[in-house]
Protein backbone atom coordinates (compact mmCIF):
# COMPACT_ATOMS: atom_id res chain seq x y z
CA UNK A 1 0.00 0.00 0.00
CA UNK A 2 2.27 2.75 -1.21
CA UNK A 3 1.04 6.32 -1.21
CA UNK A 4 0.99 8.89 -4.00
CA UNK A 5 2.73 11.41 -1.71
CA UNK A 6 5.59 8.92 -1.05
CA UNK A 7 5.00 8.53 2.68
CA UNK A 8 6.40 5.02 3.03
CA UNK A 9 9.78 3.56 2.13
CA UNK A 10 8.67 0.00 2.94
CA UNK A 11 5.08 -1.26 3.34
CA UNK A 12 5.67 -4.67 4.85
CA UNK A 13 3.07 -5.20 7.61
CA UNK A 14 4.18 -6.23 11.08
CA UNK A 15 1.44 -7.71 13.28
CA UNK A 16 1.37 -7.08 17.00
CA UNK A 17 -0.08 -9.06 19.91
CA UNK A 18 -3.73 -10.07 19.77
CA UNK A 19 -4.75 -7.81 22.62
CA UNK A 20 -3.54 -4.65 24.30
CA UNK A 21 -4.38 -0.94 24.31
CA UNK A 22 -3.42 -0.48 20.64
CA UNK A 23 -5.01 -3.66 19.25
CA UNK A 24 -7.23 -1.76 16.83
CA UNK A 25 -4.59 0.75 15.82
CA UNK A 26 -2.07 0.97 12.99
CA UNK A 27 1.13 2.73 14.02
CA UNK A 28 3.61 3.58 11.24
CA UNK A 29 7.29 3.66 12.24
CA UNK A 30 9.99 6.04 10.99
CA UNK A 31 12.62 4.21 9.01
CA UNK A 32 15.49 4.94 11.41
CA UNK A 33 13.87 2.74 14.10
CA UNK A 34 14.95 -0.91 13.89
CA UNK A 35 12.37 -3.55 12.98
CA UNK A 36 13.51 -7.17 13.16
CA UNK A 37 13.42 -8.77 9.71
CA UNK A 38 12.09 -5.62 7.99
CA UNK A 39 14.62 -3.37 6.28
CA UNK A 40 15.50 -0.11 8.00
CA UNK A 41 17.11 2.35 5.61
CA UNK A 42 17.27 5.70 7.43
CA UNK A 43 16.31 7.16 4.05
CA UNK A 44 19.85 6.42 2.87
CA UNK A 45 21.35 4.48 -0.03
CA UNK A 46 23.98 3.43 2.53
CA UNK A 47 21.40 1.21 4.26
CA UNK A 48 19.17 0.37 1.28
CA UNK A 49 19.42 -3.37 1.99
CA UNK A 50 19.99 -3.30 5.76
CA UNK A 51 17.71 -5.69 7.67
CA UNK A 52 18.02 -5.35 11.47
CA UNK A 53 18.41 -8.61 13.42
CA UNK A 54 16.48 -7.15 16.39
CA UNK A 55 13.63 -4.77 17.27
CA UNK A 56 14.10 -1.36 18.84
CA UNK A 57 12.63 -1.26 22.36
CA UNK A 58 9.84 1.09 21.18
CA UNK A 59 8.90 -1.40 18.44
CA UNK A 60 8.81 -4.27 20.98
CA UNK A 61 6.45 -2.13 23.08
CA UNK A 62 4.20 -1.31 20.11
CA UNK A 63 3.89 -5.00 19.26
CA UNK A 64 3.23 -5.97 22.89
CA UNK A 65 0.47 -3.29 23.01
CA UNK A 66 -1.24 -4.97 20.05
CA UNK A 67 -0.41 -2.35 17.40
CA UNK A 68 -0.10 -3.26 13.73
CA UNK A 69 2.81 -1.57 11.97
CA UNK A 70 1.67 -0.86 8.37
CA UNK A 71 5.10 0.24 7.15
CA UNK A 72 8.30 2.20 7.59
CA UNK A 73 8.02 5.88 6.82
CA UNK A 74 10.07 8.16 4.62
CA UNK A 75 12.47 10.61 6.24
CA UNK A 76 15.32 12.98 5.57
CA UNK A 77 18.48 10.90 5.22
CA UNK A 78 19.63 9.93 8.74
CA UNK A 79 17.20 12.56 10.08
CA UNK A 80 19.21 15.39 8.56
CA UNK A 81 16.70 17.84 7.16
CA UNK A 82 13.61 19.91 7.93
CA UNK A 83 11.58 19.08 4.81
CA UNK A 84 11.85 15.31 4.02
CA UNK A 85 13.50 16.16 0.71
CA UNK A 86 16.95 14.66 1.38
CA UNK A 87 15.73 11.02 1.37
CA UNK A 88 17.49 8.71 -1.09
CA UNK A 89 13.98 7.36 -1.82
CA UNK A 90 12.67 10.71 -3.06
CA UNK A 91 10.83 13.51 -1.25
CA UNK A 92 7.51 13.15 0.55
CA UNK A 93 4.79 15.61 -0.47
CA UNK A 94 2.51 17.23 2.09
CA UNK A 95 -0.83 15.38 1.73
CA UNK A 96 -2.82 18.35 3.07
CA UNK A 97 -0.94 21.10 1.19
CA UNK A 98 -0.23 20.07 -2.38
CA UNK A 99 3.13 21.17 -3.78
CA UNK A 100 4.50 21.84 -0.30
CA UNK A 101 6.89 19.92 1.94
CA UNK A 102 5.51 17.93 4.90
CA UNK A 103 8.26 19.17 7.23
CA UNK A 104 10.97 16.90 8.49
CA UNK A 105 12.77 14.88 9.23
CA UNK A 106 9.85 12.59 10.24
CA UNK A 107 7.83 13.85 7.24
CA UNK A 108 6.62 10.41 6.16
CA UNK A 109 5.26 9.68 9.66
CA UNK A 110 3.28 12.94 9.84
CA UNK A 111 2.11 12.58 6.23
CA UNK A 112 0.66 9.07 6.62
CA UNK A 113 -1.23 10.18 9.75
CA UNK A 114 -2.53 13.37 8.10
CA UNK A 115 -3.66 11.38 5.05
CA UNK A 116 -5.38 8.75 7.19
CA UNK A 117 -3.12 5.95 5.91
CA UNK A 118 -2.06 5.14 9.50
CA UNK A 119 -3.87 5.88 12.76
CA UNK A 120 -0.69 7.07 14.46
CA UNK A 121 3.07 7.05 13.91
CA UNK A 122 6.43 7.20 15.61
CA UNK A 123 9.03 9.77 14.63
CA UNK A 124 12.30 10.87 16.13
CA UNK A 125 13.06 14.44 17.20
CA UNK A 126 16.67 15.66 17.35
CA UNK A 127 16.05 19.36 16.68
CA UNK A 128 12.34 19.43 15.85
CA UNK A 129 11.90 16.40 13.58
CA UNK A 130 8.60 15.29 15.17
CA UNK A 131 7.15 18.75 15.83
CA UNK A 132 8.02 20.35 12.47
CA UNK A 133 6.19 17.75 10.33
CA UNK A 134 3.31 17.62 12.83
CA UNK A 135 2.91 21.40 12.46
CA UNK A 136 3.20 21.37 8.64
CA UNK A 137 0.74 18.46 8.23
CA UNK A 138 -1.83 19.70 10.75
CA UNK A 139 -1.45 16.85 13.26
CA UNK A 140 -0.14 16.48 16.84
CA UNK A 141 3.49 15.61 17.68
CA UNK A 142 5.25 15.20 21.01
CA UNK A 143 8.99 15.46 21.69
CA UNK A 144 9.42 13.79 25.12
CA UNK A 145 11.82 14.84 27.87
CA UNK A 146 15.32 13.52 27.17
CA UNK A 147 15.45 10.18 29.00
CA UNK A 148 11.71 9.40 28.96
CA UNK A 149 11.79 7.00 25.98
CA UNK A 150 14.38 4.34 25.12
CA UNK A 151 16.63 5.00 22.12
CA UNK A 152 17.78 1.35 21.93
CA UNK A 153 17.56 0.27 18.30
CA UNK A 154 17.23 3.84 16.97
CA UNK A 155 19.98 4.61 14.48
CA UNK A 156 21.92 7.42 16.14
CA UNK A 157 22.31 10.87 14.62
CA UNK A 158 22.99 13.06 17.69
CA UNK A 159 22.58 11.00 20.88
CA UNK A 160 22.57 13.84 23.39
CA UNK A 161 19.59 15.51 21.67
CA UNK A 162 17.27 12.89 20.24
CA UNK A 163 14.11 11.18 21.47
CA UNK A 164 11.45 9.01 19.85
CA UNK A 165 8.05 10.74 19.85
CA UNK A 166 4.42 10.04 18.88
CA UNK A 167 2.45 11.65 16.03
CA UNK A 168 -1.38 11.40 15.96
CA UNK A 169 -4.52 13.27 14.86
CA UNK A 170 -5.42 14.28 18.43
CA UNK A 171 -3.54 15.05 21.64
CA UNK A 172 -5.33 12.20 23.42
CA UNK A 173 -4.16 9.61 20.87
CA UNK A 174 -0.60 10.98 20.94
CA UNK A 175 -0.70 10.75 24.75
CA UNK A 176 -1.91 7.15 24.55
CA UNK A 177 0.94 6.22 22.21
CA UNK A 178 3.48 8.00 24.43
CA UNK A 179 2.19 5.98 27.39
CA UNK A 180 2.97 2.76 25.49
CA UNK A 181 6.55 3.65 24.52
CA UNK A 182 7.73 5.53 27.67
CA UNK A 183 9.56 3.99 30.60
CA UNK A 184 12.87 2.52 31.74
CA UNK A 185 14.79 0.06 29.57
CA UNK A 186 17.79 -1.99 30.71
CA UNK A 187 19.24 -1.54 27.20
CA UNK A 188 19.35 2.28 27.40
CA UNK A 189 21.04 3.67 30.51
CA UNK A 190 19.94 7.24 29.68
CA UNK A 191 16.27 6.45 30.38
CA UNK A 192 15.00 7.55 33.78
CA UNK A 193 12.00 6.30 35.76
CA UNK A 194 9.45 9.13 35.60
CA UNK A 195 7.70 7.90 38.75
CA UNK A 196 10.83 8.89 40.69
CA UNK A 197 10.43 12.43 39.34
CA UNK A 198 6.64 12.76 39.33
CA UNK A 199 5.08 10.07 41.54
CA UNK A 200 3.13 6.88 40.94
CA UNK A 201 0.81 8.15 38.18
CA UNK A 202 3.63 9.81 36.23
CA UNK A 203 2.87 7.83 33.07
CA UNK A 204 -0.90 8.47 32.99
CA UNK A 205 -0.65 10.68 29.92
CA UNK A 206 -4.01 9.70 28.41
CA UNK A 207 -5.78 10.81 31.60
CA UNK A 208 -4.04 14.19 31.36
CA UNK A 209 -5.70 14.99 28.03
CA UNK A 210 -8.72 16.56 29.73
CA UNK A 211 -8.50 20.01 28.11
CA UNK A 212 -8.56 21.80 31.47
CA UNK A 213 -6.56 25.04 31.11
CA UNK A 214 -8.40 27.02 33.78
CA UNK A 215 -5.67 28.92 35.69
CA UNK A 216 -2.89 27.86 33.28
CA UNK A 217 -0.03 30.39 33.21
CA UNK A 218 1.62 30.63 29.78
CA UNK A 219 4.99 32.31 29.17
CA UNK A 220 5.64 33.58 25.63
CA UNK A 221 9.31 34.06 24.66
CA UNK A 222 9.13 37.07 22.34
CA UNK A 223 12.42 36.07 20.64
CA UNK A 224 10.53 33.19 19.00
CA UNK A 225 7.98 35.55 17.46
CA UNK A 226 10.41 38.24 16.25
CA UNK A 227 11.55 36.44 13.12
CA UNK A 228 8.28 34.64 12.41
CA UNK A 229 6.13 35.08 9.32
CA UNK A 230 3.20 37.42 9.91
CA UNK A 231 0.63 34.86 8.74
CA UNK A 232 2.02 32.43 11.33
CA UNK A 233 1.97 34.91 14.22
CA UNK A 234 -1.65 35.85 13.46
CA UNK A 235 -2.73 32.22 13.80
CA UNK A 236 -0.57 31.90 16.92
CA UNK A 237 -2.20 34.85 18.72
CA UNK A 238 -5.66 33.56 17.78
CA UNK A 239 -4.81 30.25 19.47
CA UNK A 240 -3.58 32.12 22.56
CA UNK A 241 -6.89 34.05 22.59
CA UNK A 242 -8.69 30.72 22.46
CA UNK A 243 -6.72 29.44 25.47
CA UNK A 244 -7.40 32.69 27.34
CA UNK A 245 -11.12 32.30 26.66
CA UNK A 246 -10.86 28.88 28.34
CA UNK A 247 -9.32 30.34 31.50
CA UNK A 248 -5.59 30.53 30.77
CA UNK A 249 -3.48 33.70 31.04
CA UNK A 250 -0.18 34.68 29.48
CA UNK A 251 2.84 36.89 30.07
CA UNK A 252 5.74 37.79 27.80
CA UNK A 253 9.22 36.56 28.66
CA UNK A 254 12.58 37.67 27.36
CA UNK A 255 15.14 34.92 26.68
CA UNK A 256 18.18 36.41 24.94
CA UNK A 257 19.88 32.99 24.95
CA UNK A 258 17.40 31.72 22.34
CA UNK A 259 19.09 33.87 19.68
CA UNK A 260 21.97 31.36 19.70
CA UNK A 261 19.95 28.12 19.69
CA UNK A 262 20.20 27.30 15.97
CA UNK A 263 23.99 27.73 15.93
CA UNK A 264 24.42 25.77 19.18
CA UNK A 265 22.16 23.02 17.89
CA UNK A 266 23.85 22.61 14.51
CA UNK A 267 27.39 22.65 15.90
CA UNK A 268 26.42 20.07 18.55
CA UNK A 269 24.38 17.83 16.24
CA UNK A 270 26.94 17.91 13.41
CA UNK A 271 29.77 17.12 15.82
CA UNK A 272 27.91 14.15 17.26
CA UNK A 273 26.92 13.04 13.75
CA UNK A 274 30.52 13.07 12.54
CA UNK A 275 31.36 10.60 15.30
CA UNK A 276 28.17 8.48 15.11
CA UNK A 277 28.28 8.04 11.35
CA UNK A 278 31.91 6.92 11.43
CA UNK A 279 30.53 3.38 11.87
CA UNK A 280 29.35 3.26 8.24
CA UNK A 281 32.41 1.80 6.60
CA UNK A 282 30.71 -0.75 4.32
CA UNK A 283 32.25 -3.76 6.05
CA UNK A 284 29.73 -4.96 8.66
CA UNK A 285 26.66 -3.57 6.90
CA UNK A 286 25.79 -0.98 4.29
CA UNK A 287 27.16 0.07 0.93
CA UNK A 288 30.52 -1.62 0.29
CA UNK A 289 33.49 0.39 -0.95
CA UNK A 290 34.95 -2.70 -2.60
CA UNK A 291 38.35 -4.21 -1.89
CA UNK A 292 40.75 -2.26 -4.12
CA UNK A 293 43.38 -0.21 -2.38
CA UNK A 294 43.80 0.26 1.35
CA UNK A 295 41.38 0.56 4.27
CA UNK A 296 41.09 4.37 4.12
CA UNK A 297 40.50 4.42 0.37
CA UNK A 298 37.73 1.82 0.39
CA UNK A 299 35.98 3.42 3.36
CA UNK A 300 36.08 6.83 1.67
CA UNK A 301 34.62 5.27 -1.48
CA UNK A 302 31.81 3.50 0.44
CA UNK A 303 30.90 6.78 2.11
CA UNK A 304 31.05 8.79 -1.10
CA UNK A 305 28.61 6.37 -2.75
CA UNK A 306 26.36 5.67 0.23
CA UNK A 307 25.80 9.14 1.70
CA UNK A 308 23.79 11.96 0.15
CA UNK A 309 24.91 15.56 0.01
CA UNK A 310 23.35 16.88 3.24
CA UNK A 311 24.77 13.97 5.24
CA UNK A 312 28.26 14.50 3.80
CA UNK A 313 27.97 18.20 4.52
CA UNK A 314 27.03 17.68 8.16
CA UNK A 315 29.73 15.05 8.77
CA UNK A 316 32.33 17.40 7.28
CA UNK A 317 31.18 20.43 9.27
CA UNK A 318 31.11 18.32 12.45
CA UNK A 319 34.60 17.01 11.75
CA UNK A 320 35.73 20.61 11.20
CA UNK A 321 34.08 21.85 14.44
CA UNK A 322 35.87 19.15 16.45
CA UNK A 323 39.24 19.42 14.73
CA UNK A 324 42.38 20.80 16.36
CA UNK A 325 42.29 24.59 16.52
CA UNK A 326 38.52 24.86 16.05
CA UNK A 327 37.16 22.80 18.95
CA UNK A 328 37.21 25.71 21.42
CA UNK A 329 35.82 28.16 18.88
CA UNK A 330 32.84 26.07 17.80
CA UNK A 331 32.10 22.99 19.90
CA UNK A 332 32.99 24.43 23.30
CA UNK A 333 31.09 27.67 22.65
CA UNK A 334 28.07 25.64 21.52
CA UNK A 335 28.14 23.80 24.87
CA UNK A 336 28.26 27.16 26.69
CA UNK A 337 25.21 28.25 24.69
CA UNK A 338 23.47 24.97 25.51
CA UNK A 339 24.07 25.42 29.25
CA UNK A 340 22.82 29.04 29.02
CA UNK A 341 19.66 28.02 27.16
CA UNK A 342 19.01 25.19 29.62
CA UNK A 343 19.40 27.47 32.63
CA UNK A 344 17.30 30.36 31.33
CA UNK A 345 14.43 28.24 29.94
CA UNK A 346 14.21 26.38 33.24
CA UNK A 347 14.16 29.72 35.08
CA UNK A 348 11.32 30.90 32.80
CA UNK A 349 9.43 27.70 33.61
CA UNK A 350 9.67 28.56 37.32
CA UNK A 351 7.37 31.51 36.54
CA UNK A 352 5.06 29.79 34.03
CA UNK A 353 3.39 26.40 33.65
CA UNK A 354 4.29 26.14 29.97
CA UNK A 355 6.03 28.26 27.33
CA UNK A 356 4.24 28.85 24.01
CA UNK A 357 5.43 29.80 20.52
CA UNK A 358 4.64 28.99 16.92
CA UNK A 359 6.16 25.53 16.27
CA UNK A 360 7.65 26.73 12.99
CA UNK A 361 8.36 30.39 12.19
CA UNK A 362 7.20 29.84 8.61
CA UNK A 363 4.34 28.02 6.85
CA UNK A 364 5.24 24.84 4.87
CA UNK A 365 7.79 25.67 2.14
CA UNK A 366 7.17 24.85 -1.49
CA UNK A 367 8.88 21.64 -2.58
CA UNK A 368 12.43 22.23 -3.82
CA UNK A 369 12.61 25.73 -2.35
CA UNK A 370 15.02 25.04 0.53
CA UNK A 371 17.42 22.52 -0.98
CA UNK A 372 19.71 25.10 -2.60
CA UNK A 373 20.29 27.07 0.58
CA UNK A 374 20.87 24.82 3.63
CA UNK A 375 21.40 27.78 5.97
CA UNK A 376 17.91 29.06 5.19
CA UNK A 377 16.52 25.62 6.02
CA UNK A 378 18.47 25.55 9.31
CA UNK A 379 16.91 28.86 10.37
CA UNK A 380 13.44 27.29 10.17
CA UNK A 381 14.47 25.27 13.27
CA UNK A 382 14.75 28.40 15.46
CA UNK A 383 11.75 27.56 17.66
CA UNK A 384 12.19 23.80 17.99
CA UNK A 385 15.95 23.41 18.67
CA UNK A 386 16.00 25.16 22.10
CA UNK A 387 13.81 22.36 23.48
CA UNK A 388 16.29 19.63 22.50
CA UNK A 389 19.24 21.65 23.82
CA UNK A 390 17.42 22.01 27.18
CA UNK A 391 16.35 18.29 27.29
CA UNK A 392 12.71 19.38 27.80
CA UNK A 393 9.33 18.03 26.56
CA UNK A 394 7.27 19.89 23.95
CA UNK A 395 4.12 19.31 21.96
CA UNK A 396 2.98 20.74 18.63
CA UNK A 397 -0.78 21.04 18.18
CA UNK A 398 -2.69 22.34 15.14
CA UNK A 399 -3.45 26.03 15.73
CA UNK A 400 -5.21 26.88 12.47
CA UNK A 401 -4.34 27.76 8.90
CA UNK A 402 -2.87 30.68 6.99
CA UNK A 403 -5.01 32.57 4.49
CA UNK A 404 -3.72 30.14 1.82
CA UNK A 405 -4.92 27.15 3.83
CA UNK A 406 -1.46 26.07 5.05
CA UNK A 407 -1.36 24.43 8.51
CA UNK A 408 0.23 26.28 11.45
CA UNK A 409 1.30 24.57 14.68
CA UNK A 410 1.44 25.88 18.23
CA UNK A 411 4.30 24.63 20.39
CA UNK A 412 3.97 24.22 24.15
CA UNK A 413 7.13 23.53 26.19
CA UNK A 414 6.99 22.06 29.69
CA UNK A 415 9.44 21.38 32.53
CA UNK A 416 11.49 18.16 32.56
CA UNK A 417 9.14 15.15 32.85
CA UNK A 418 6.22 17.61 32.62
CA UNK A 419 4.58 15.75 29.72
CA UNK A 420 1.22 15.87 31.53
CA UNK A 421 1.27 19.68 31.67
CA UNK A 422 1.82 20.07 27.92
CA UNK A 423 -0.67 17.30 27.09
CA UNK A 424 -3.32 18.93 29.29
CA UNK A 425 -2.73 22.38 27.78
CA UNK A 426 -2.51 21.06 24.22
CA UNK A 427 -5.73 19.06 24.56
CA UNK A 428 -7.64 22.33 24.99
CA UNK A 429 -6.89 23.01 21.30
CA UNK A 430 -6.82 19.59 19.61
Amino acid sequence: MSTEYNGYITTERIEGATDGPLVDATVAVKDNISTEGVRTTCGSAMLEDYVPPYDATVVERLKAAGATIPGKTNMDEFGMGTTTETSAFGPTENPVAEGHVPGGSSGGSAAVVAAGDADMALGTDTGGSVRAPAAFCGVVGIKPTYGLVSRYGVVAYANSLEQVGPIAPTVEEAAQLLEVIAGPDPSDATVRDATEERGADAYDYTGAADGDVDGLDIGIPMELLDGADEQVTEVFWDAIDDLEAQGASYHEVDLECLRYAVEAYYVTAMSEASSNLARFDGVRYGQSGGYDGNWNETFARAREEGFGEEVKSRILLGTYALSAGYHDKYYKKAQDARAWIKRDINDALDDADVLASPTMPVPPMEMGESLEDPLKMYLADANTTPVNLANLPAISVPAGETGDGLPVGLQLVGPAFGEKEIIRAGSALA
Binding site: Y266, V283, Y285, W295, N296, S313, L317, A337, W340
Partner: protein, 94 residues
Protein backbone atom coordinates in the same frame (compact mmCIF):
# COMPACT_ATOMS: atom_id res chain seq x y z
CA UNK B 1 33.29 38.41 2.74
CA UNK B 2 36.09 38.85 0.16
CA UNK B 3 38.00 35.90 -1.27
CA UNK B 4 41.15 36.74 0.66
CA UNK B 5 39.66 36.36 4.14
CA UNK B 6 37.16 33.63 3.41
CA UNK B 7 36.52 31.24 6.29
CA UNK B 8 37.23 28.13 4.29
CA UNK B 9 38.99 27.30 1.02
CA UNK B 10 38.78 24.22 -1.24
CA UNK B 11 41.98 22.76 0.23
CA UNK B 12 40.46 22.87 3.69
CA UNK B 13 37.29 21.12 2.49
CA UNK B 14 39.45 18.39 0.94
CA UNK B 15 41.47 18.07 4.16
CA UNK B 16 38.35 17.69 6.34
CA UNK B 17 36.84 15.21 3.86
CA UNK B 18 40.06 13.23 4.14
CA UNK B 19 39.82 13.24 7.96
CA UNK B 20 36.18 12.12 7.73
CA UNK B 21 37.02 9.43 5.12
CA UNK B 22 34.61 10.69 2.47
CA UNK B 23 35.69 11.04 -1.17
CA UNK B 24 34.32 14.16 -2.86
CA UNK B 25 34.24 15.06 -6.53
CA UNK B 26 35.37 18.52 -7.68
CA UNK B 27 31.83 19.78 -7.98
CA UNK B 28 31.04 18.82 -4.39
CA UNK B 29 34.22 20.52 -3.20
CA UNK B 30 33.20 23.76 -4.93
CA UNK B 31 29.65 23.64 -3.61
CA UNK B 32 30.73 22.81 -0.04
CA UNK B 33 33.39 25.54 -0.10
CA UNK B 34 30.69 28.09 -0.88
CA UNK B 35 28.09 26.71 1.55
CA UNK B 36 30.53 26.19 4.42
CA UNK B 37 31.67 29.82 4.19
CA UNK B 38 28.08 30.97 4.84
CA UNK B 39 27.37 28.39 7.52
CA UNK B 40 30.64 28.90 9.42
CA UNK B 41 30.22 32.66 9.26
CA UNK B 42 26.82 32.18 10.85
CA UNK B 43 28.31 29.92 13.55
CA UNK B 44 30.74 32.78 14.39
CA UNK B 45 27.94 34.46 16.37
CA UNK B 46 28.66 31.88 19.09
CA UNK B 47 31.63 34.14 19.95
CA UNK B 48 29.10 36.41 21.69
CA UNK B 49 27.96 33.66 24.08
CA UNK B 50 29.24 34.12 27.64
CA UNK B 51 31.00 31.31 29.48
CA UNK B 52 28.36 29.40 31.45
CA UNK B 53 29.04 27.01 34.30
CA UNK B 54 26.71 24.08 34.36
CA UNK B 55 25.68 22.11 37.42
CA UNK B 56 25.08 18.75 35.82
CA UNK B 57 23.08 16.38 37.96
CA UNK B 58 24.37 13.29 36.26
CA UNK B 59 24.98 9.93 37.83
CA UNK B 60 26.63 6.93 36.24
CA UNK B 61 24.29 4.00 35.68
CA UNK B 62 26.06 0.70 36.23
CA UNK B 63 24.93 -2.88 35.90
CA UNK B 64 26.59 -6.18 36.82
CA UNK B 65 28.87 -7.47 34.07
CA UNK B 66 27.01 -10.70 33.31
CA UNK B 67 26.88 -12.91 30.24
CA UNK B 68 23.58 -12.44 28.38
CA UNK B 69 22.03 -13.69 25.17
CA UNK B 70 23.31 -11.89 22.11
CA UNK B 71 23.22 -12.22 18.34
CA UNK B 72 24.53 -15.45 16.86
CA UNK B 73 27.57 -15.27 14.61
CA UNK B 74 25.36 -15.92 11.57
CA UNK B 75 22.95 -13.11 12.53
CA UNK B 76 25.80 -10.70 13.12
CA UNK B 77 27.24 -11.47 9.68
CA UNK B 78 23.93 -11.37 7.87
CA UNK B 79 24.17 -7.75 6.68
CA UNK B 80 27.85 -7.84 5.72
CA UNK B 81 28.53 -7.23 2.00
CA UNK B 82 31.13 -10.04 2.14
CA UNK B 83 32.24 -12.59 4.70
CA UNK B 84 34.94 -15.23 4.77
CA UNK B 85 35.14 -18.27 7.08
CA UNK B 86 32.66 -16.75 9.53
CA UNK B 87 34.39 -13.35 9.64
CA UNK B 88 33.66 -9.93 8.17
CA UNK B 89 35.75 -9.37 5.08
CA UNK B 90 37.52 -6.02 5.17
CA UNK B 91 39.93 -4.23 2.87
CA UNK B 92 43.71 -4.24 3.30
CA UNK B 93 44.78 -2.37 6.41
CA UNK B 94 47.82 -0.67 4.93
Amino acid sequence: MSDTDRVVDPEEVRHVADLARIDLDDEEVDRFTEQFADILEYFETLDEVPEVDEDEELANVMRPDEVRDCLSQAEALDNAPETEDGYFKGPNVS
